[in-house]
């Protein structure tokens, strides 16, 4: 890659976005194939959503007794992914951990992609999306602070703004050839750390605050959400960094990957301890309140819909935790990647199938409703996941050349007064 020369008259901000846009629209054949596939899946999702808009939510598998399905399940999982970005933010900015610095921009990119997708899942779940303006400030009505959903909308959008602005500031400074000023971004970073924990806790409180659903109405729900998110998030980060390391000139230190792996390991272990506590209380002396867990893990009244999924999830997380706990396995890249993939899939199943749906089973008067997602629902989900991957790819593709100092504003524009930045400066660990 050669340094891009921009017209000197172009304003920096415009140049920043124009150069970024140029960067994301070119690349190897493999990059174009990847983006084309994502685009196709997104188009398929948009088509399925158009059917849902025309016919109503009746085209999904949801009904009055399982009134939230795959959409809200995916939403919950993705909020966890977004919260996990804090794991990268905290040591980098606060403790000045050199190892993490090279990965942190991608962590925040992952948070942005997860949030965009999570908000997308809430929107497709709405019965009357054309009335979204009822939530808007000034013209709408916001049931804050009573409704946890109102809280959730606030924290998710605030977190999105934070995670867009911090990397934007840093990348833009690097683009201009300057070092970012910690006085501007460190307070924002502290705020985003608190915010990241609150994002996933508030999402857990959304469910835990409903005495009508005993399966969710537990104090452990929030901590368990955090533990599993901090396991699956770094696992996904390790896999993404492996792909970036293989396909670009961007150097990711092995020490960074190892620290992430350690976090994923500890979080997976803590998550398993919480799972055991939950299973113990549910099954040692089963009550009416245990029926959802019974349905999930043992089958209820001859219905075993979710039993294979829940045990597959437990087995995957357990296997991954054991693999990661062995130092030699964790330090050998191919085995590490396998363990991360197992961990990610295990948590994904637990959150997407084993958290929201069993909360509705049995329904309030004890019947066992059936929920099977339709193809429309599955296609919309696939489209939104593709959107998330697309957003992450675009952000990473634009960030890498800036961080490598291949993409920078022309020298005339660089602020002479500011301290200049060495090409491939501190962020490059090569």
């Amino acid at each position: 890659m050669s340094t891009v020369t921009a017209s000197p008259r172009r304003a920096s901000l415009v140049g920043f976005f124009a150069d970024g846009l140029r960067e994301v629209t070119r690349g190897h054949l493999r990059y174009h194939v990847w983006m084309a596939v994502l685009t196709l899946v997104m188009l398929a999702g948009a088509y399925a959503y158009s059917i849902q808009l025309r016919e109503g939510l009746a085209v999904t598998g949801m009904h009055d007794h399982v009134s939230w399905g795959l959409y809200i399940s995916c939403f919950t999982f993705l909020v966890g992914m977004a919260a996990a970005a804090v794991i990268l933010v905290m040591p980098t900015y606060v403790l000045h951990d050199q190892d993490f610095k090279s990965a942190v921009l991608f962590g925040e990119g992952l948070a942005v992609a997860s949030l965009v997708t999570a908000i997308g899942f809430v929107v497709v779940d709405l019965g009357s999306p054309e009335r979204l303006w009822h939530l808007a400030p000034v013209i709408g009505i916001f049931n804050w602070p009573r409704s946890m959903l109102a809280w959730d909308i606030l924290v998710l959008n605030g977190y999105l703004v934070l995670n867009l602005s911090i990397p934007f500031y840093i990348l833009y400074c690097h683009y201009r050839g300057r070092e970012p000023n910690p006085r501007y971004y460190v307070p924002a970073v502290f705020l985003s750390i608190l915010w990241a924990v609150s994002v996933h806790l508030v999402t857990a409180f959304l469910y835990a605050g409903l005495p009508a659903r005993p399966y969710w109405n537990t104090a452990l729900l929030g901590p368990r959400f955090l533990a599993t998110a901090f396991a699956a998030g770094p696992a996904l980060m390790i896999l993404s960094l492996a792909v970036i390391r293989r396909n670009t000139a961007y150097a990711v230190a092995e020490a960074t990957i190892q620290k992430l792996a350690l976090i994923a390991t500890v979080a997976a272990q803590v998550g398993l301890v919480m799972l055991v506590s939950e299973l113990f209380t549910e099954f040692y002396r089963s009550t009416h309140h245990s029926e959802s867990a019974e349905y999930l893990y043992r089958g209820l009244e001859g219905r075993y819909d979710l039993v294979p999924w829940s045990w597959a999830s437990v087995a995957l997380v357990l296997l991954a935790a054991v693999m990661l706990s062995v130092h030699r396995v964790r330090r050998t890249p191919p085995a590490l990647y396998v363990a991360c993939a197992l961990l990610f899939v295990g948590v994904l199943i637990e959150k997407s199938i084993g958290t929201i749906i069993p909360g509705f089973v049995p329904e309030p008067w004890g019947k066992i409703p059936r929920y099977v997602p339709t193809w429309v629902e599955l296609t919309v989900c696939a489209g939104l996941w593709a959107l998330g991957a697309f957003v992450f790819t675009v952000l990473a593709k634009a960030a890498i050349p800036i961080e490598l100092a291949h993409l920078a504003a022309p020298p005339a524009e660089a602020d002479a007064a500011a301290p200049t930045r060495e090409p491939g400066g501190v962020t490059s660990s090569a």
Partner: protein
Amino acid sequence: MTLKGLLPVIQPLAEPRGGGCACGGAGACENESGLDRVRHLAAATAAPETLDPDGDPHRSGFRQLLEREVDRRTAIGMIGTGLLAGFGLFQTACNPLASAESRERAVLGWQEYFQGNFRLMTDQEKADTVHRLERLHELRTGRHIEVSATGARPGVLYGYAFNISKCRGYMDCIRGCVKENNQDRRTGIEYIRIHEMKKGQMDFGHAEDDFFHEVPAAGHFYVGTQCFHCQNPPCVDVCPVKATWMEPDGIVVVDYNWCIGCRYCIAACPYDARRFNWSDPVVPLDEVNPDQHYLGNRLRKRGVVEKCTFCIQRSREGRNPACVEACPTGARVFGNLLDPDSEIRWVLANKKVFRLKEDLGTEPKFWYYMD
């Protein structure tokens, strides 16, 4: 044609206070043509605010319009009206053959889209809103309905009691409820569930609520559930847009025009009281109950939540809900909890009553008792 088509939309904006209609936009005048009605409704929104009589006479009318102070709701109304006018222009330009009626429908439809939350409306806005619903129904179907916006009467708190000894599972209450409340016939939305239980236990999990056999079945008894109109309703707390609330007379209602369809309230209800319109609700025209209430049995749209309202359109007129009236065994008692002489108070004072899932602290206003 084009210019003429614009007139009904533009005129009210230019007309002084009160619009072209002598009744002052209150929506009470009879024998209007379709065009007059558009003018009338647009005037009700826009005209009373159009010109400030105390304004500086040297400023142009346009500047006066721009510089005067308005509150939030008026501003929304004005933005809405502006959009209506724009939409009217657009529609007329694109479709010169459109009839006055279809234009009126479009304009009323946009007004409906931009209407605010019912609870925050003034009495005038409420009257306009229900008037618009009636007119829209007339334009769509050619039939007349009466939509009421009657508020709660002071000194009234409704309660309900269900006699387990008397119910025999006939389900006339369900049929009466569906008919009265214009519920979707295609997916069969029902507010009431009758649970058939084996004698000797009170176990909802093993009860049957979907039975097709002769009733009462030997060795069984029957318990009905519906919305319990909790005095501490969890469904109201969780709504992110305050589209559902408890009225002063204790009825928990939904503004079907404000609900965004997130279904959080369904997840929050421990009694399975709420229903969602998963597809376009269908009620055959001949079966539509024309006596409606804005917060009750008026026709719903797709994508919103609905529920039992103790037949608000009947109870606020001093009548019993349809389920009470339909029940052939006298198992259902409804009345004013604040009236010491009411039947419900007699039941609460003289029978051993209980409520379901009391441990959740929702304080249902729905009691069960036995003879």
